[in-house]
Symmetry: C2
Subunit: 346 residues, 2 copies
């Protein structure tokens, strides 16, 4: 009989609330014969304040034993900027080699967008997750003086770029439109830019059916608001991916519905799924958070583990729920979760 | 009697056409007693193909003798990506220490925006122009092999950050709303991020009337499309500035109307003014380019040289011209220039 052994990291702020709904929908969608085991971990601001720890080697060993990880949100104003981001979120992505950071953007019927007209938005960003400016390379000299110099080193390897570019081509190949755009800034960041561009062009030869284009990151932000229908699959570096996926989320219904997967396609380590939004401490504990992004992250998780039919049921339930929202009174976090659980079970 | 000794760099593609209209409007707006001298330089793709040169020491010596520089656009698909960008545009910004890259965004009445509703957009981005990931530091080893490693080093100095932050605070102080936002990614790029944040907070103490906020660059892209009215002055690093100003241009009427100044406030070297758009080779030579961004760059140039009244006349003429466009047939590049020249003279 089948089973899913899930690590659950509610985290900070609204993380607790949205993860509870994600698990509710997960339980409702899974067939009877699939045994779901969950183990909760207390990472985040509370643990950091209590112990000074963000993510220890023992933690990594424990997490490694799960099939996948569901994360709510990590981050709190009481913790200095960077401590939990570098010490937990990025540490985990790097430790588990989550090199495919998958972020779909789809504007569903009935969902509000800040863009005029009725743009058709349905693309997925494959963001590199283990290299680029995110490696933590760099440093500071003469800190706090008028002669301080701070550097950040973007590290890019043929190995790291090729595997994520290849993943993106395979995803483009599997989609009806078969289009792939590389986003970089190869006219300024010429060292990294040429590496990305050359590998992209080389791998393209193996995928003759995929139509490719290149665009600079600055131009890409223009297209994302003026011609978002242009995009099918995007592949890009870690930092550009961070930026364009927030913008992509904003134009395709907001970060309330933006899901993401931090994927290790090899399966050597569990992949992690999380909403793109943060911990939103201003609305935490009030039942105001929209759990939809977390529920959609559960769909990505199921798809990753091979439960395609169940993932599709969640996607459909979310689409139906969103399409009926206009004009209705706002619901609480758990009311939305309940409604989605009913839909996926039904 | 007063005089302006201007270096003119038409450049590639539509650069020639739009610069001609910029000069037309400049001549029309200047009082009789101001002697305008212009010298044209042939930088860009043609010169590169003919001589292999992009910008020599002799060129820099010649340019240095002018009061200011007006640039059309540089770049052509026949030149490998990066050659003219690094070899001309960035070389000039660095050689003349253009550390204040000024990019105003104002949505004028009657101008189309991709955003729904009628957002009020009126802010200015102060982009650092001589540091960050633009320094060209970094390199490649094992080029072209499967073991290639390419690095890009973002270099940030207290000197460089403080002077641009101070410039931005002074600009915010001089505006009615007196708001300044720092955009960075200090939770991930912690070395550079802390330098920027600490200096920003330190300089803020000298400007108690200025309201400040900090936001991550990814969140900033969301606000630029959902709450652009939130912004008054933005200060940010070279790469983040490149990205957010293209997005800002897109939401506030398009790059057809986005002007910029590469300013050296010390006056040790001439400042350079240019439209944000590129050389647009697809429409070059057809009289289809909108010269408005170049004309607005001329206004920034005049303001920089102390001709405030003339700069304001250009801004007003452009606003009037844009407000009357809706429903009218498209005009050629020179027709728009003519109309603006008539307005500023009248
Ligand atoms: C919180 C931060 C470290 C993170 C990132 O920059 O990757 C977030 O913005 C994201 O996009 O998941
Ligand atoms: C052409 C390129 C070097 C330049 C930049 O990245 O600064 C351009 O995008 C700009 O914004 O002026």
């Amino acid at each position: 009989s089948r089973s899913i052994n899930l690590a659950v990291i509610p985290g900070d702020g609204i993380g607790q609330e949205v993860v509870a709904e994600g698990l509710k929908v997960l339980s409702a969608v899974l067939p009877q014969d699939v045994k779901l085991e969950t183990e909760e971990y207390d990472f985040g601001a509370r643990r950091y304040h209590a112990t000074g720890e963000t993510l220890t080697d023992a933690d990594l060993d424990a997490l490694k034993r799960h099939d996948a990880i569901l994360l709510g949100a990590i981050g709190d104003p009481s913790v200095p900027s960077g401590v939990l981001e570098r010490g937990f979120l990025l540490k985990l992505r790097f430790a588990f080699d989550h090199h495919v950071n998958l972020r779909p953007s789809k504007l569903l019927p009935g969902v509000a967008t800040p863009l005029a007209g009725e743009p058709e938005i349905d693309f997925v960003v494959v963001r590199e997750g283990t290299e680029g400016p995110y490696t933590g390379n760099g440093g500071t000299i003469r800190k706090g003086t008028e002669h301080e110099v701070a550097t950040e080193v973007s590290v890019n390897t043929a190995f790291g770029v090729e595997r994520v570019v290849r993943d993106a081509f395979a995803r483009a190949q599997a989609r009806p439109r078969k289009k792939l755009a590389l986003i970089h800034k190869n006219n300024v960041l010429t060292f990294a830019g040429h590496l990305w561009t050359n590998i992209f062009n080389k791998v393209a030869e193996e995928f003759p059916e995929v139509t490719t284009e290149y665009m600079h990151v600055d131009a890409a932000t223009i297209y994302l608001v003026t011609q978002p229908e242009r995009f099918d699959v995007i592949v890009t570096d870690n930092l550009f991916g961070d930026i364009v996926t927030d913008l992509a989320a904003a134009v395709s219904g907001g970060i309330g519905v933006a899901a993401s997967g931090n994927i290790n396609p090899s399966g050597d380590f569990p992949s992690m799924f999380e909403p793109v939004h943060g911990s939103a401490p201003d609305i935490a504990g009030q039942g105001k958070a929209d759990p939809t992004a977390t529920v959609l992250s559960v769909a990505l998780l199921l798809r990753h583990l091979g439960y395609e039919a169940e993932a599709a049921r969640i996607d459909d339930a979310v689409a139906a729920d969103l399409s009926e929202r206009t004009g209705k009174p706002a619901r609480s976090t758990s009311e939305i979760g309940d409604a989605l659980a009913v839909r996926v079970a039904g």
